[in-house]
Amino acid sequence: MIRFLKNSLILSAPFVFWVIFVVVIDPFNYFGFSNAISGEVKEQNSGRLNTLLYRTISFKRYPTANILIGDSRTDLLPVSELERITGKHFGKLTNNAAKLNEIFELFYFANSYHKLETVVIGINFNMFNEYGYADRVKDIKEIISFPPRYVFSTSVAEACYFVLRAQIIGKDISDVPPMTREEFWKWNIEEKATHWYGKYKYPNELYAQMRKLDDFAIRNDINLIFIVVPHHREFHDRLIEFGLLNEELKFKEYLSSLNAKVIDYDFENEITIDKENFTDPVHYQESIGRLMVNEIWGNKILIGKPLN
């Protein structure tokens, strides 16, 4: 029996060391006990590796009443400009390739930590698809509520490696695609558009969730704003090939029936026809982000189209 218990202890020893290691490195600032790794290194590496986990933990620690929720396109909206114009502090719960169901879940998650006042949600037609589904927020919530889930998460293990590497040799994670701008542009037009639009089904459930969220915002006096961010026309026009133009029109009609404010930038206008306004077909330049913020919050909408 003693031998059996001794061997069991030996087997568990590496895991005890791992727990101590993670608490010390703490790549996502979950515990907040240790300063072994600088905040900047964590943001540059853990923040890029798993943006959703990084931002939700950050939000939990420092919740704000005003937030931006969406994917990488929403992430491009300049918070500093927004804060300058509105005079309010804004937080971000954006993450790469966020799905609409995840965005809705993040909305309620955020509201459970801080009574929300203004919520900006970036939305596009590609998100309004039953097949555009992922369930990462559920995992994140589990991690947040159960520390062993954080300590023994593959994301955390990976982040530990990257933050240590950055701290020791000064090499951060790169998010630059491994191809030229032209190649990446072409890849987006051909493959990404096929992936987004090649399989479409009207999302009954998502629409119901959107309505519920809209009602919730009214009942709880939350200023909810949807922004349909711009795509370059070349990308947008692939909708024609997939026979989805009517579906896109319907999507915008649904949006216009909401109580929330909806501003559309994804139609033929001076932003979407100029390639120079985009880093790739679906990500606008910083200047366009500033322009949209100034239009919407400066109450002088010239290019954008209010849908309701």
């Binding site: 029996m1 031998r3 059996f4 061997n7 069991s8 030996i10 087997l11 590496p14 895991f15 698809n129 039953e130 097949y131 555009g132 589904y133 992922a134 369930d135 559920k138 995992d139 062993p148 889930r149 023994f152 998460s153 593959t154 293990a157 051909e190 493959e191 096929t194 992936h195 090649g198 399989k199 089904k201």
Partner: protein, 438 residues
């Protein structure tokens, strides 16, 4: 339920053991059969038969006035009913003596590691172990721990991961026509194996740590070279139960060919029904019955062709692949939510073979199920790891083979296995064991 069922069988077992009167013994056995199977029928099949009967008479143009009952299936009822039933039948047949130790008997029926999903133990094997004084046996406990480790690896790392893909496809087959159906079906074969044999490993391992030897339930079933071999390797405790208590009493193979075919078919039909009150399980059982009959009638011909057409080094691999494919077809019925869904999968799974080499089209087809290419690579690596362990296990217990490695490598292996279980198991959503529903 459990106490009632155990009490009836304990009392009836004792009464059968006390009398030599054949008629009385038979009557007592009948009481046990009716009470056990009656309870099982009521809880598990009553609504199914009412629904099926209603559908039938509706189809005949009548209006049925039958109502189903709002009843919950007691956990593990199919398993402990068969376990207690075998006790009285074995006493009736004179194979074992009735137990005089009521505590031992109740512990035998309610032994927690195997209560809800087996292995379905026989009284002759497990009951005597409760009479003995147990002492801690390091070797036994160590092998048990290793089995538990492998069981968790199968369940948490593989079964729960592939469940995401399988559930997405089988819960909405029309959304995933073609390659995703093929992938989900093959993955379900691994899911059900890893889920169920993983549970059995954990149960047997737990038993070993406590000093009990539970029967083997799986012996690398996907290595089988025929369907008949598959059934000597898959859910052994149940297939031997059906063999001993249904197939052999029906005459087994000591009858003419037609009667043998009937015996096999009926046995597998009942086996399918045992799994659940749904036509999908009945068709699955019938399918295996038909395959076994067909296999026997064509064995000499197929063996001849096999030796003639296939190079010698593939002689074992090809039949194993054919058997695996046939088993996978059966799994379509087992997993589908209805016969209609199963038929849809069968008729649409190969509709896009021409697109297999187009990665963009394939990526689109798999969209929406919550699986990424990384998940696919991970699962492939984990299944490969499992296959290596099973390959090592084919001659002796894999834990004994690992023991031959240098000590540091042994520790490395177990720490690695535990690391994979903790890191990759914890990130999967928790799925109930599939066989808990039976």
């Amino acid at each position: 339920m459990l106490i009632g069922s155990s009490l009836i069988d304990y009392v009836i077992g004792s009464m059968i053991g006390r009398t030599e009167d054949k008629k009385k013994r038979k009557a007592l056995l009948l009481v046990s059969l009716i009470s056990n199977l009656g309870t099982l029928f009521f809880f598990k099949y009553f609504n199914f038969f009412i629904d099926s009967f209603s559908s039938l008479i509706t189809a005949l143009g009548f209006i049925p006035h039958l109502t189903t009952l709002n009843i919950i299936l007691p956990v593990g009822i199919s398993f402990y009913t068969f376990q207690t039933l075998s006790y009285t039948i074995d006493i009736y047949k004179g194979k074992i003596q009735p137990s005089n130790d009521v505590v031992a008997f109740f512990t035998f029926v309610t032994f927690f590691p195997q209560l809800v999903a087996g292995p379905i133990e026989r009284a002759s094997h497990l009951l005597p172990q409760f009479y003995k004084k147990r002492e801690f046996d390091y070797e036994f406990a160590s092998s048990g721990s290793k089995m538990i480790l492998l069981g968790f690896f199968k369940k948490m790392v593989i079964a729960d991961k592939v469940a995401v893909l399988v559930n997405a496809v089988y819960n909405n087959p029309s959304d995933y026509v073609g390659a995703p159906m093929v992938m989900a079906t093959v993955m379900f074969a691994f899911q059900i194996y890893c889920d169920f044999s993983g549970y059995s490993d954990i149960a047997i391992g737990t038993g070993r740590i406590l000093g009990f030897d539970l029967m083997t339930n799986f012996k690398r079933p996907y290595y089988s070279k025929s369907i008949s071999e598959f059934w000597t390797r898959w859910h052994i405790s149940l297939s031997t139960w059906f063999k001993d208590y249904i197939y052999i009493p029906l005459g087994g193979n000591r009858v003419n060919q037609k009667r043998w075919a009937f015996n096999i078919f009926i046995t597998f039909l009942i086996s399918g029904l045992w799994h659940g009150a749904n036509w999908t399980f009945i068709v699955w059982g019938a399918y295996h019955g038909v395959l076994l009959v067909f296999e026997r009638y064509t064995k000499s011909v197929s063996d001849g062709w096999l030796n003639l057409l296939i190079p010698k080094f593939l002689v074992k691999l090809v039949p194993a692949l054919v058997t695996f494919s046939l088993v996978c077809v059966g799994w379509i019925f087992f997993r589908a939510n209805s016969i209609q869904d199963a038929t849809f999968v069968l008729t649409h799974m190969f509709s896009d073979v021409g697109d297999y080499l187009d990665p963009v089209k394939m990526a689109v087809k798999f969209r929406g199920m919550g699986w990424t290419p990384t998940d696919l690579i991970k699962v492939f690596i984990f299944i490969l790891m499992l296959e290596i362990i099973q390959w090592i296990d084919r001659k002796r217990f894999w834990g004994d083979s690992i023991r031959k490695l240098p000590r540091y490598l042994q520790w490395f292996f177990y720490v690695l296995l535990l690391t994979i279980i903790i890191f990759f198991g914890i990130e999967n959503s928790v799925e109930n064991f599939i066989y808990f529903q039976f």
